[in-house]
């Protein structure tokens, strides 16, 4: 965490959270519509933000629209608070909204994330905002927006299952490992954003509100709290999540998503929790992993 002297100062020249109130209202209307139709992609007039499209502008606009002065914001990318883009976005909100920021999942009221869901189960008073590059789960099967819109409207999802069938026929497995399509509330097929499929089960009946922002593609969608979210599969090829054959080298966790670190060019490897806050909390609580245990001995 940077020192107070280095953190960007709140700049009151900007409207709170950068966007003007009209724009925030427009985005909130889109969010409400999205919550009313779980998993349905609502078009919205995405604004040009000071960050490039593709770098989280959608998530940022959602966050900016719902952020209040009392909120505590956490921003993660690949599960960590300290990755460059997470730092950049967190600083943006510090500067334009002056809100308190935190790295502790438990303390946050709003969590903006890229590519991971925190390991710690979220609560009803929290909101998870996902950054989404391509909101349309059928996009790579059908490039035309006119056609995919119709398929969703008519619940014509045969194409999606054809892809899954084909994967099993060719590879023996469903070959999608991230951005694994889900069906929300038994209706819309939705892209959970490029989170690893490992995280899909967390979305099911999550107590927190889940909001999804795609700035470049100009879509917002939502999963209300306690909504059914089912990963697509076949009865005889059920959805499974990734597993590692070793625990986190630092904290010993056996049920988290692990990052693989290359330590030398001889094939040396370390595996560490991708969720940096989670790993830190476990270590503080006294848990150890193979590497920290060895060092202690």
């Amino acid at each position: 965490m940077s020192t107070a002297a280095e953190a960007p100062k709140y700049d009151p020249a900007y409207n709170f959270a950068f966007l003007d109130e009209q724009t925030k209202r427009m985005i909130r209307r889109a969010i409400l519509k999205a919550i009313a139709i779980p998993g349905y992609q609502v078009p919205f007039a995405s604004r040009e933000m000071p960050m490039p499209y593709g770098w989280g502008t959608g998530g940022m606009q959602v966050t900016a629209a719902i952020l209040g002065p009392e909120d505590r914001l956490k921003v993660i990318d690949q599960g960590a608070d300290d990755t460059t883009n997470a730092v950049s976005i967190r600083n943006f909100f510090r500067r334009t909204a002056g809100v308190e920021t935190t790295e502790r999942t438990a303390d946050a009221t709003i969590i903006q994330t890229r590519h991971r869901i925190p390991e710690l189960p979220l609560r009803e008073d929290q909101i998870l905002v996902y950054q989404v590059p391509i909101p349309e789960p059928l996009r790579f099967l059908e490039p035309r927006e006119t056609e995919t819109r119709t398929l969703h409207a008519l619940k014509e999802y045969g194409l999606m299952h054809v892809k899954l069938y084909e994967d099993i026929a060719i590879h023996g497995h469903i070959a999608t490992t991230y951005a694994y399509p889900v069906q929300v509330s038994g209706r819309y097929i939705t892209d959970p954003s490029p989170t690893p499929k490992f995280d899909n089960p967390k979305m099911n009946h999550m107590p927190a509100l889940q909001l999804f922002g795609a700035g470049r593609e100009k879509r917002i969608y939502a999963i209300p709290p306690y909504t059914e979210v089912a990963s697509l599969d076949f009865e005889d090829h059920p959805f499974t999540i990734q597993a590692w054959d070793r625990p986190c080298d630092i904290c010993g966790a056996e049920d988290t998503f692990l990052d693989e670190m290359v330590t030398d060019d001889q094939g040396g490897r370390m595996f560490i929790c991708s969720d940096s806050d989670h790993c830190e909390r476990r270590r503080t609580a006294g848990h150890t992993g193979p590497m920290t245990r060895d060092a202690a001995e």
Binding site: V162, Y165, A169, I170, F234, E235, D236
Partner: protein, 262 residues
């Protein structure tokens, strides 16, 4: 056609016309199709038979006239009064369409098995093993080597592609199948085999079929009844055997004499 409307008919066209600006596509077409019946619409190119088929299948909106279809357990309804959603649902479930060019009716970039399985999956079948067995069963039925189940149609010959298209269309046992020159694009030597497969399936499954063809031989082999089209209008209709044996209209006589001499 002056038959009294039969309330058990499956499909009915009345006063059906389609104009393209000043040009006639089809004009004042009327007929009925009963369950289990194969009706051939016969004519040369430019006769309006393809326009007619497209109207019947709900792909183009007629200029005037009505197309009615009786959904399972329901009464006759004008298909153009249905919502687009309902029409599309009909096209996916109770209807089938076999295109002249098999590539138009197949996904060329996914395997034969996936092609056959798609309609099943669209209906909600979620057991990979079951889908695969159904695909294997149908490949056998249309006489495609089951080893080819994971191959893409790109690697198939024209005849094989057409047989795959037929399997893909019939796997969900649609009540009504539209066929547009099903053997039209194939080599003569291959046509006979595909026709034979079709005939077997139509009989086995008791399909109702509207079949468009320029080839009276195809009509003779597959159809119970036929209508002859010329310049957008029906010039003669009746049982296939009767027309072939004793054509009344001059144009029908011309067509019939052509196949007899071939």
């Amino acid at each position: 056609m002056t038959s009294t409307p039969n309330t058990n008919a499956l499909l009915r066209a009345s006063g059906l016309s389609k104009f393209y600006g000043g040009q006639v596509g089809c004009f004042d077409v009327a007929f009925e199709l009963w369950p289990g019946e194969v009706l051939a619409i016969v004519g040369e190119s430019g006769s309006g038979k393809t326009t007619l088929l497209n109207c019947l299948a709900g792909h183009i909106i007629p200029t005037s006239g009505v197309v009615e279809y009786r959904r399972h357990g329901e009464i006759m309804r004008n298909i153009f009064k249905m919502t687009e959603a309902e029409r599309r649902s009909l096209q996916r479930t109770e209807w089938g369409l076999v295109h002249q060019n098999p590539a138009d009716g197949l996904r060329m970039t996914v395997s034969a098995g996936a092609n056959i399985g798609e309609r099943l999956m669209a209906l909600g079948v979620r057991h990979y093993g079951d889908i695969r067995s159904a695909a294997l069963e149908w490949l056998e039925r249309v006489e495609i080597d089951t080893e080819r189940i994971d191959c893409r149609p790109e690697t198939f010959s024209g005849g094989m592609r057409q047989r795959l298209q037929i399997a893909r269309t019939l796997v969900t046992r649609p009540r009504l199948v539209f066929m547009d020159e099903p053997t039209g694009g194939l080599d003569v030597s291959v046509q006979a085999r595909v026709l034979d497969t079709l005939r077997g399936l139509v009989t086995d499954l008791g399909l109702s079929v509207v079949l468009v063809t320029h080839d009276l031989g195809v009509a003779r082999l597959l159809a119970d009844r036929m209508v002859v089209m010329k310049d957008g209008q029906i010039v003669e209709d009746g049982l296939t055997d009767q027309i072939l044996e004793d054509p009344q209209h001059a144009y029908s006589q011309l067509l019939v004499s052509a196949i007899l001499s071939a």
